[in-house]
């Protein structure tokens, strides 16, 4: 277990280094361009040169990278030019918003896709299985923005039951809860489609294993065969994937956030990227990668808990 933790921590560090360096050089490999980005197209070359010197950007990339790492280590993430706030505050605020969305969505996705996937896979090619398989395939095929448009045209335009935006500002007569319904629905539908087919495929495979035959021919009721023997084995493969969804829910839902004008982490990065807010991009990328690696570790841990063969 100790070895496991050390190994993963080292990988986490390695990844963070690699990514921070890549993003850093990507943004700054042409020093003049940085100042130009900040000052805009109408600044004179003199102004650009001055800023470049002021910011120390005329020094080699590697030196500046080490500086940057030093600042990071002391907790200084820099200042966001887009939001006119310290990066730390910007990130914290948007992450908190995203965490709310992600938590609600995750709480729906896990039970929904486990149940649907297991029910479909336990009797392969049954009518129920075909229906669930088709449904999940089609749902997973619709891009998030299209799903948003479809749902909005029904529930906002046609029925008028729900708000079309989720700015989290309780105004316009809609509560925050009502604002969350559509974004969560889009995320849950899109993501469940994928997870359901994973769980189903795993369940189908498990149901063909000899130990399921052993259980059936022991005379166990079908319920017990599924709950006691099939389900845990069937969750071995998907559990890692399910954990990885946290990663998607936090960092990958930029499209949904854009559709519903949700002030989340993904949209923050998009804006930072479009406005060349370098400090924010770099810090955001690090946070995203940190989350990604941590969810990976969570997936591994969950797998280890389920499978006694790995634990030994």
């Amino acid at each position: 277990m100790k070895r496991f933790v050390v190994k993963h921590l080292l990988f986490l560090l390695l990844t963070l280094f690699a990514v921070s360096f890549l993003v850093f050089t990507l943004n700054e490999f042409s020093p003049g361009a940085v100042a130009r980005k900040i000052l805009g197209a109408y600044a004179t070359q003199e102004q650009v040169d001055l800023l470049t010197r002021q910011m120390g950007l005329d020094r080699p990339v590697l030196v500046r990278y080490v500086d940057y790492l030093g600042a990071l280590a002391s907790g200084d993430l820099g200042y966001s030019t887009r939001f006119k706030l310290p990066v730390r505050e910007v990130i914290f605020k948007h992450l908190a918003n995203t965490a709310l969305l992600a938590a609600v969505a995750f709480a729906c996705i896990v039970p929904l896709s486990t149940v649907l996937g297991a029910v479909a896979g336990m009797r392969e090619a049954s009518r129920l299985d075909r229906v669930i398989l088709m449904f999940s395939t089609v749902i997973a095929s619709i891009p998030e923005f299209a799903l948003g448009v479809f749902l909005a045209s029904v529930f906002v335009v046609w029925l008028g039951w729900l708000p079309g935006t989720a700015t989290l500002v309780a105004g316009g007569g809609w509560s925050v809860a009502a604002q969350l319904v559509l974004p969560v629905a889009v995320i849950v539908l899109f993501d469940s489609g994928y997870v359901v087919s994973m769980v189903r495929a795993s369940m189908v495979e498990v149901m063909q294993r000899p130990y399921i035959r052993t259980a059936v021919l022991k005379g166990l009721p079908f319920r017990a065969v599924i709950l006691r023997h099939a389900l845990r084995n069937a969750m071995l493969t998907p559990v890692t994937v399910i954990m990885l969804q946290i990663n998607y829910l936090v960092a990958g839902v930029v499209v949904v956030e854009t559709v519903f004008a949700y002030p989340g982490f993904g949209r923050m990065i998009l804006e930072a990227a479009l406005f060349k807010d370098i400090a924010l991009i770099e810090a955001g990328a690090l946070v995203a990668v940190f989350l990604a690696v941590v969810t990976n570790i969570l997936g591994d841990v969950a797998y280890m808990l389920l499978d006694p063969r790995i634990r030994a």
Binding site: V6, Y211, V216, K218, G219, L220, R232, L236, D307, A312
Partner: protein, 687 residues
């Protein structure tokens, strides 16, 4: 239940839905089984024996269905029983033991939880009562320390232990019928022997009837009272074990017995008689006798016009046979050799000489893990194979025999020691480093027919490519070269255009032999080339190998776990255990006392398909030590029934030389001879 048998199967028909439509794979099988009786159901792969067994518990999958007939069990009709009724019978009155015990046990549940399920479900007993029953049952199947075993997961147990668990799980509810589907297939000989003995013992205690399904005639003899032989979905012959094995009536039964090598004969005395053709599919069946296409006694019209009924053999009321010519066929007698003392000529010049061969696998140093102890796959092995002769290396799984083959072929490199191939040292040469002439000189035939040929390439491409590479130039007429090689292995040249999936197992193995012959090798290393084949096909491939060897004067290194085939085929035999050679010598001397105690145990464990075969069984205790926990002294010391004392644990055994016969043991050879009785009796009856 006093009237009528426990299980009565009448005219059972089973159909499977395939892409081509529904096929009747079992066109009508009838048999009965009395309480406490053991019936063996034998036949080759695809003959429908497992299908029949699974139909009794109504577990045929989605594609299969019972198309007619009846199965009565304890007076109840099973074919029409509803789900609840089936559940009440499954696991309580009828229990099953399966082929692959590892796969049959749930990998994420402890053994204990799996054991208590059946009693808790069927008898509603409490968890603690069920646990007590499970513990008692584990003791009964002779697992040491049942308390500890209960908390283990299946992957923490050996194959033999797993099968004992499965047997305990089946017997825990005291079922009236126990169905065993190939319960010992895939286990090592010594483990198999122990499991079979256990089944026999439990049978006498539990009074469960047994339906024992196997392709191995030898193991059926050890367990069963009666035998039923199946071919292509039909029961061709049925009767008491003794009758079936001493006076078989059906040509197929006779063929099966004739094509089995026995411990008492070899190729010079009594060649194997393979059954013509290959195992035919149950999916498409002819009008008349299913075996007609391969039968030497077939009479067109009588045999091929209509289905053959099963009839009682005249004078033997408990013996039925489905052959219209059964009464006209000559009497059958067991094929056997006359003199086992036959010597195989002088030693001959060595083609392959292995000295002090050691192969250590350095486990890959995992990142951030301490160094793991290296695995000594092979230690200080000495062997030699003479030009034009056959050297057989025999032993159980993990003994290092395949590693020796890999070092010979250059797929692995020796850690120490020398391997001389026709005067050239090759032990340190990986195959890439070998000169073209050396590559040509030694070729290999592999075990698994399904993976020996690349499924993406045609047979012609595989052989043609080998021709081009091994002969070092593009042959003038490659197609002719391929056709010629296919002819050598008795395959139609038309097969060249086929992909392997359209070939049977035997055909694939023949094609692989043709590929190995492409460079006209001087040495053929065959690693378990027939162990994955049906017995009737096995004999043909063995004969083909000996024929080719004789015709080309090639040296054959034959790796096998099957002592009977080794006895039949080999000139020289090396018995390996845990990476060392325990015994080496001419075949007839290795198969006669003095034996190395391990050879003795192996020989005594071989299931012999002969009810008259007597012989004390030597059961090995414990398990084979892992390759990283090899004992300091004699490698066999931890399990040796003839262990003499601490010297066995402390000191490596001396190699005792008796002419060209070597035994590595602390017990002097003459004392071994005195202690041991011959385990292989050459039969005097000629044929």
């Amino acid at each position: 239940m006093t009237d009528g048998p426990l299980l009565d199967v009448r005219d059972l028909r089973i159909a499977y839905t395939t892409r081509a439509g529904e096929a009747l794979v079992v066109p009508g099988v009838s048999f009965g089984l009395n309480a406490g009786e053991a019936l063996g159901l034998v036949g080759e792969s695809g003959c429908g024996k497992s299908t029949v067994a699974l139909s009794i518990v109504r577990y045929l999958g989605r594609a299969g269905r019972i198309a007619g007939g009846s199965i009565r069990f304890e007076g109840r009709e099973l074919t029409t029983l509803d789900e609840a009724g089936l559940r009440a019978i499954r696991g309580r009155r009828i229990a099953m033991v399966y082929q692959d015990p590892m796969a049959s046990l749930n990998p994420v549940m402890t053994v204990g939880r799996q054991l208590v399920e059946a009693p808790m479900t069927h008898e509603g007993v409490s968890a603690s009562a069920a646990r007590a029953r499970a513990l008692a049952m584990l003791a009964e199947v002779k697992l040491a320390d049942p308390e500890a075993v209960m908390d283990r997961y299946p992957h923490q147990l050996s194959g033999g232990q797993q099968q004992r668990i499965v047997i305990a799980m089946a017997l825990i509810t005291g079922p009236a019928l126990l169905i065993m589907d190939e319960p010992t297939t895939g286990l090592d000989v010594t483990v198999e022997a122990a499991v079979l003995d256990l089944v026999r013992e439990l049978r006498s205690r539990h009074r469960s009837a047994i339906l024992f399904i196997s392709h191995n005639l030898g193991s059926v003899v050890r367990v069963c009272d009666r035998v039923a032989v199946m071919y292509r979905g039909e029961l061709v012959e049925e009767g008491p074990v003794r009758r079936i094995f001493t006076s078989p009536r059906h040509p197929y039964t006779r063929g099966l017995l004739d094509c089995l090598p026995t411990l008492g004969s070899d190729k010079r005395q009594a060649p194997l008689v393979p059954i013509a053709g290959q195992v035919e599919s149950s999916l498409a069946r002819p009008q008349g006798c299913g075996f007609a296409g391969r039968c030497a006694h077939v009479e067109v019209g009588r045999c091929t016009a209509r289905p053959i009924p099963s009839a009682v053999v005249v004078g033997e009321p408990d013996h039925r046979v489905a052959c219209v010519r059964a009464d006209e066929l000559p009497r059958w007698s067991r094929r056997s050799g006359a003199d086992a003392a036959h010597e195989a000529g002088g030693p001959g010049e060595p083609m392959v000489a292995v000295q002090h061969l050691t192969k250590i696998y350095e486990p890959r140093r995992r990142w951030l893990r301490g160094p793991r102890s290296p695995v000594r796959a092979v230690r200080d092995v000495e062997l030699a194979a003479a030009r034009g002769r056959t050297l057989a290396i025999v032993g159980e799984s993990g003994c290092g025999k395949s590693t020796v083959a890999k070092v010979l072929s250059g797929l692995e490199v020796a850690t120490a020691g020398t391997v001389v191939l026709d005067g050239v040292e090759v032990g340190a040469l990986a195959v890439d480093a070998r000169a073209a002439a050396l590559k040509r000189k030694l070729q290999m035939v592999f075990q698994n027919p399904d993976s020996t040929l690349n499924p993406s390439h045609t047979v012609g491409y595989a052989i043609g490519r080998a021709l081009r590479r091994l002969q070092g130039r593009a042959p003038a007429d490659p197609a002719a070269g391929v056709a010629r090689l296919l002819e050598v292995v008795k395959l139609s040249p038309a097969l060249a255009a086929r992909k392997p999936r359209h070939l049977s197992g035997g055909e694939k193995q023949r094609a692989a032999i043709a590929r190995a012959l492409a460079g006209d090798p001087d040495v053929i290393v065959a690693d378990e080339p027939v162990s994955a084949l049906d017995v009737s096909v096995q004999a043909a491939i063995v004969n083909l190998l000996t024929e080719i060897q004789a015709a080309r004067g090639a040296t054959l290194v034959f790796i096998s776990h099957d002592l009977a085939i080794v006895r039949y085929l080999a000139d020289t035999v090396a018995v390996m255990y845990l990476g060392t050679v325990a015994e080496l010598g001419p075949v007839e001397r290795v198969f006669a006392p003095p034996y190395h105690p391990y050879t003795e145990a192996l020989l005594s464990a071989v299931p012999v398909p002969d009810p008259d075969h007597a012989g004390a069984r030597i059961l090995l205790e414990g398990r084979v030590p892992r390759a990283d926990e090899i004992p300091r002294g004699c490698p066999f010391a931890t399990r040796c029934p003839r262990r003499v004392g601490p010297v066995c644990d402390e000191t490596p055994p001396p190699v005792q030389q008796f002419g060209d016969h070597r035994i590595a043991c602390h017990i002097p050879g003459d004392e071994l001879s005195r202690l041991q009785t011959p385990l292989v009796q050459p039969r005097a009856v000629g044929r």
